[in-house]
């Protein structure tokens, strides 16, 4: 059976062009980028070429890019590193209720370390309302961290406006752009982004590599200790093949961005519309138009998300859900609760995130299968019978 992979927000396959660019750096060009000899300097050159490519994608300068092991490390370094270096200026952090746990849990950690924390609510479409941020800013607010595009519901925030409010109040602005990097147009200067986290494996690059962009005016405490790598901001021997792969992935994403976004937006809209038309008692989650290209998130009433996922999997369809069973806790996703969904609705969430491999035929197939799966689970559901569903 063919696998129809519609979970590109979880991870993507490595693009063959990325993969072949990486291979020489595992053996032929294996030098340590810190070594002075020729093998080392070849590796150094490859790292710096990749840095140029990653920086170019967001209109940053190469010196402003710190390579990390991924989005999680970038978020940790941005938040902890900034607060440690700037605590004398103030101790208040603002973030939003729909952040990835890499930001939320790090903010909670800082809160336990004695920093003040405000977690902003979002509206029912998953937007942080600029006025709410404005009203929350205090004299001692030094850091605002709000994600660019949400991983679960796809909603895109008004980053430029939010960053301007942070700056007016004397704070710096960090954004977790793991989902949007390479997919949406990002210009850190124009948008007023001071720090930005990104990850390669969401854009057809390898896992285990990402970056933190830090505006050159910003002082950050060193995160890992033990070497002068990354301009003395992050110790550890560079993962040269992965960095090379990240560079190529960033370049390809930039080159194909408009074309890819247009295709995935059209495909995603057809999928979304089709699901809502064919499945009764279904609703879209997130913003109807300000959302990541190809990101479809819905909730089906009277069924539970993990059951939907496993049944879809039996038809070869790979998707994800924010139900409690898939979050590994007793509560459904914090994002779905933050947009005001009751628990019972949030348990029936399904996310389909499209990518390069997906075709019109895939969408047709999924639109054929989803109503069958939901209906067969509803036939088993005591909740469905109570509302007069088909018993």
């Amino acid at each position: 059976m063919k696998t129809i992979y519609m979970d590109h927000s979880a991870t993507t396959p490595v693009d063959p062009r990325v993969f072949s660019a990486m291979i020489p750096y595992y053996n032929d060009v294996f030098g340590n980028a810190s070594s002075v000899h020729t093998p080392g300097q070849k590796a150094r050159q490859a790292v710096e070429d990749a840095r140029d490519k990653v920086a170019a994608l967001i209109k940053a300068t190469p010196q402003e890019i710190i390579f990390t092991t991924g989005g999680t490390e970038a978020d940790n370094q941005a938040l902890i590193g900034y607060m440690q270096a700037n605590a004398h200026r103030g101790r208040h952090i603002i973030t939003s209720a729909i952040e990835h746990h890499a930001v939320l849990d790090t903010c909670e950690y800082l809160h336990k370390q004695g920093y003040d924390l405000t977690v902003l609510p979002v509206n029912s479409l998953g937007m942080v309302e600029p006025q709410v941020l404005k009203d929350t800013m205090r004299d001692d607010t030094v850091l605002v961290s709000i994600m660019h595009a949400n991983n679960e519901i796809g909603t895109i925030q008004s980053i430029k406006e939010l960053a301007a409010i942070a700056h007016e109040g004397g704070a710096v602005f960090h954004t977790d752009a793991v989902q949007s990097f390479g997919k949406l147009d990002i210009n850190v200067r124009d948008m007023g982004i001071d720090m930005l986290s990104a990850s390669a494996h969401k854009l057809y690059g390898p896992k285990g590599i990402g970056c933190l962009y830090v505006n050159k005016k910003i002082k950050l405490a060193k995160y890992l200790h033990g070497g002068a790598q990354e301009r003395n901001r992050r110790a550890g021997t560079e993962n040269v093949p992965a960095i090379v792969g990240f560079g190529v992935a960033a370049q390809l994403a930039g080159d194909n961005r408009l074309e890819s976004a247009a295709r995935l937006t059209a495909l995603g809209q057809r999928l979304q519309k089709g699901i809502l038309e064919r499945v009764p008692h279904a609703r879209l989650t997130g913003h109807p138009s300000l959302r990541l290209p190809g990101s479809v998130s819905v909730c089906f009433e009277f069924v539970e998300g993990e059951s939907v996922l496993l049944m879809l999997d039996s038809y070869g369809i790979a998707a994800s859900s924010g139900s409690a069973c898939t979050s590994g806790s007793l509560d459904p996703s914090h994002v779905l609760l933050a947009i005001g969904l009751p628990h019972v609705i949030a348990h029936g969430s399904l996310r389909l995130t499209l990518g390069h491999s997906n075709t019109d035929e895939d969408v047709d197939y999924v639109l054929d299968i989803i109503p069958k799966v939901v209906e067969s689970l509803r036939k088993m559901s005591p909740l469905y019978a109570n509302v007069g569903g088909v018993a």
Partner: protein, 123 residues
């Protein structure tokens, strides 16, 4: 993640539905935590002649419901009362640890149905 037996019961659940004029009905769980199990039984001469379930929940919730109906059909009420959530999970070759508490309530639903039957048929 799940045993083959869990997946088999999840994909092909036994005894789904309702019983017309059921002798006992049991329901446990709640929609907030994401699991509701509803079991109906038909009893004759102290024996569970028929049993049906409806469940809202994850694969473990559906599989345990299906398994408990299979285990209990044709058994006496006393035998049925001895079935526990643990024996249901064991019959399915085990459940992931996180599922043992939240989605393993099928035996509880069965016991509620038996209790309901006893209440309706005192003595």
């Amino acid at each position: 993640m799940y045993s083959g037996k869990v997946m088999e019961h999840f994909m092909n659940p036994r005894n789904v539905g309702e019983i017309e004029l059921a002798d006992g009905i049991g329901e446990v769980g709640n929609p907030v935590c994401g699991d509701i199990m509803h079991i109906e039984i038909k009893v004759a001469d102290n024996i569970i002649e028929d049993v049906k379930f409806k469940t809202f929940g994850c694969a473990a919730a559906i599989a345990t419901s299906s398994m408990v109906t299979e285990m209990v059909k044709g058994r006496t009420l006393e035998e049925a009362e001895r079935i526990t959530n643990r024996t249901v999970a064991e019959a399915l070759d085990g459940l992931p640890p996180v599922k043992m508490h939240c989605s393993n309530l099928a035996a509880d639903a069965l016991h509620e149905a038996i209790k309901d039957y006893m209440k309706r048929h005192p003595g």
